[in-house]
């Protein structure tokens, strides 16, 4: 069985407010097949370590914070932010090897990132560029959802937006226009970058009631996808310009920004952290809330189809699956992922 997860990568562990300063704020995360404890020291510094006491495997996330350290509340062992055991009550010295593996962390663009490889290999330049909910020029609202599927299916979902026409017919869709786009993906070292315009389509369903039926729009899409599964998109709705190629030229109605990070928990479950909103320049009253609710509804649509797909894939593990014209993005992303995983696991 080939390795499932990339080790030398940053995985999103949530929004920055997910890990608070309170004494009980010992956050449990499962990332790429490992259980992690995240907490903030008294100074606010972020700590990530394996959520398992090396004594008898009790979760440290059931413990308590003491300054910059965490105490296991089974037998009281105290671990520093580096994971090294500082004290075992009743013993003069902690025994040799009493340490918890610690992980490198980084906070960027409102997200918490954990490097699942060796901490000394952590390279912050590999964290994806994202739109931050704290950017003063943007008004984004953040959320998260859990989906019971393998993250490779989520990558394939995000690398091929033709599914908007079908999965999201009731939210982002309302046209089959997305299904006739054949994007040219620009290959990057750790992903793909894609730009295109969906032309001359009716309003997306969630705003259709605001416009005359015959109104037509161009949607300018710019997506950056990186491994393991980070999806950063600028999605601009313009009045249709009637042109056949080039950037959308019609009046800009809504300039939207979304950052989405998908973190595999294990083989069959993932955590999905996402934001969506507009530039403050194109925001108007009520739109952020509408987008927030639409986005969540849309991700429930994804959850439904992805979890159904997962069930069938488990029922028919050896069934062949055919390719279609929309598989270029998924093919390229999964190829990059497999190549990086293979490089970490020489035969």
């Amino acid at each position: 069985m080939a390795e499932t997860f990339l080790k030398n990568a940053w995985y999103c562990a949530g929004w920055r407010d997910d890990v608070g300063l309170g004494q009980k704020d010992l956050v449990e995360r499962r990332i790429a097949g490992q259980s992690l404890l995240l907490y903030r020291t008294a100074e606010g510094a972020l700590v990530a370590m394996e959520d398992r006491c090396p004594h008898r495997s009790a979760p440290l996330s059931l413990g308590r914070k003491e300054g910059d350290a965490v105490r296991c509340m089974y037998h009281g062992m105290l671990f520093g932010p580096d994971g090294i055991c500082r004290a075992v009550p009743g013993m003069a010295q902690p025994p040799e090897g009493a340490r918890v593996p610690a992980f490198a962390t980084c906070e960027k663009d409102g997200w918490i990132w954990v490097w699942m490889g060796k901490p000394e290999d952590a390279d912050e330049s590999l964290i994806c560029e994202a739109y931050s909910p704290y950017d003063p020029d943007l008004n984004l609202r953040a959320n998260s959802i859990r989906i019971e599927t393998n993250y490779r299916q989520e990558i394939a979902n995000l690398a091929d937006l033709s599914h908007i026409s079908w999965v999201h017919d009731e939210t982002f869709g309302g046209t089959d226009g997305w299904a006739f786009i054949k994007p040219r993906h620009k290959r990057q070292a750790r992903g793909i970058e894609t730009r295109y315009v969906v032309r001359d389509i009716p309003s997306p369903r969630f705003t259709a009631h605001m416009f005359p039926k015959e109104a037509r729009f161009d949607i300018q899409v710019h997506v950056r996808l990186t491994v393991p599964c980070n999806f950063i998109m600028n999605f601009r709705i313009h009045e249709a310009d009637g042109l056949e190629s080039g950037d959308a030229q019609g009046a800009l109605l809504l300039d939207t920004y979304t950052s989405q990070a998908v973190t595999p928990r294990d083989e069959g479950t993932l955590d999905y952290y996402f934001s969506w909103g507009t530039s403050t320049e194109t925001e108007f009253p009520g739109v952020i809330d509408l987008m927030y609710r639409t986005n969540f509804d849309a991700f429930l649509e994804d959850k439904r189809i992805l979890e159904g797909q997962r069930r069938r894939q488990l029922e028919y593990p050896d069934a062949p699956q055919i390719d279609i014209v929309h598989d270029a993005g998924p093919g390229q992303m999964l190829w990059v992922l497999d190549k990086l995983i293979a490089a970490e696991n020489p035969a």
Partner: protein
């Protein structure tokens, strides 16, 4: 098929015995598409004959194209049609330029032209001269009265760089073994265009002297073009590098590239998903995929190396 461009013959000039040049300007007076030395255009001639002619003027001039045509009385009729039936003031249709014979990056170029093969070589010489690059040109003709473009070749720009070799004057004979013998020079590229016998003579000398294929470039008047569907061998050059990868008969392009360390994402391996779609900078692919539409295939600006091959001896890809 790309759209035809309407052009007006601004000038027709006798350049040498049986060779005329034609200056073409866009019929609507606007600029013609940009082109690079080595490029050719399809010209639609009276009688709906389509022929390829290399552009031979300085490539910086997009007001006009210049082509040179040898009147070949034994030919298929294209050159007779343009010589006899086309005059200044006439309008013709041409395709946008396409370059199957591009200049590489080099420290020095050795240019070999045989007969009417002077046309792309002359454009290269103009370009190299304007850039200030080192080059030497050897121009082989049957007799001095058949040497075209004498005015340009004799100009100050090319002083000391052009050697004329006439078959009927043994003193001027081209000693290609002496020129190419010894050790192939790193950074020197050879460009050859002319009739088959001439080309074989120069190319064989280069091969014998051990010049690597990546430093030898040529264009035949009638390229031994593959028929669609044949699984023959071809070459893939990588734009911006001097790498040339041989694709063996029956081998897929993606496998040949991977074996050469050039990894391109691939998934379905049967031309359906488009994962391996790769930009084409030169040459004409033999499209065998279901991913590209007919219009996209006709543009010849990309191909799927998992299953598609080449109609020209060489493709240049952009990665």
């Amino acid at each position: 098929m790309s759209e035809w461009i309407a052009v007006r013959v601004a000038e027709k000039r006798d350049e040498a015995r049986d060779i005329a040049s034609f200056v073409l300007e866009k019929a609507d007076g606007t600029d013609l598409p940009h082109w690079e030395p080595g490029a050719h255009v399809d010209v639609r001639l009276p009688g709906d004959i389509v022929r390829q002619y290399s552009l031979c003027g300085p490539a910086v001039d997009t007001r006009r194209y210049r082509i040179g045509v040898l009147r070949d009385s034994a030919g298929r009729g294209g050159s007779r049609a343009i010589h006899d039936d086309v005059a200044a003031g006439d309008t013709l249709s041409i395709s946008p330029p396409r370059n199957l014979f591009p200049l590489d990056v080099q420290e020095q170029a050795l240019l070999f032209a045989g007969g009417i093969g002077i046309t792309p070589i002359l454009a290269m010489a103009h370009h190299l001269s304007a850039k200030g690059d080192r080059f030497d040109m050897h121009y082989c003709v049957r007799s001095a009265d058949r040497a075209a473009f004498a005015d340009q070749l004799g100009g100050d720009d090319f002083a000391g760089r052009v050697s004329l070799h006439c078959d009927d004057d043994p003193d001027t004979r081209l000693d290609v073994d002496a020129l190419l013998g010894g050790t192939p020079v790193v950074g020197t590229h050879i460009y050859v265009c002319g009739p088959d016998g001439f080309m074989d003579h120069v190319l064989n000398a280069a091969k014998k002297a051990g010049w690597p294929d990546s430093q030898v470039h040529f264009e035949r008047f009638s390229a031994p073009v593959s028929q669609p569907g044949e699984d023959g061998a071809f070459k893939i050059a990588v734009e911006g590098s001097d790498r040339v990868i041989e694709v063996a008969a029956g081998q897929s392009a993606i496998d040949a590239l991977a074996a050469a360390g050039i990894e391109i994402p691939v998934s379905c391996e049967q031309g359906i998903c488009g994962t391996c779609l790769t930009d084409i900078a030169g040459g004409i692919p033999d499209h065998r995929d279901m991913f590209l539409s007919d219009a996209e295939k006709a543009a010849n600006d990309c191909f799927t190396p998992c299953c598609s091959r080449a109609l020209t001896p060489r493709l240049t890809i952009r990665i």
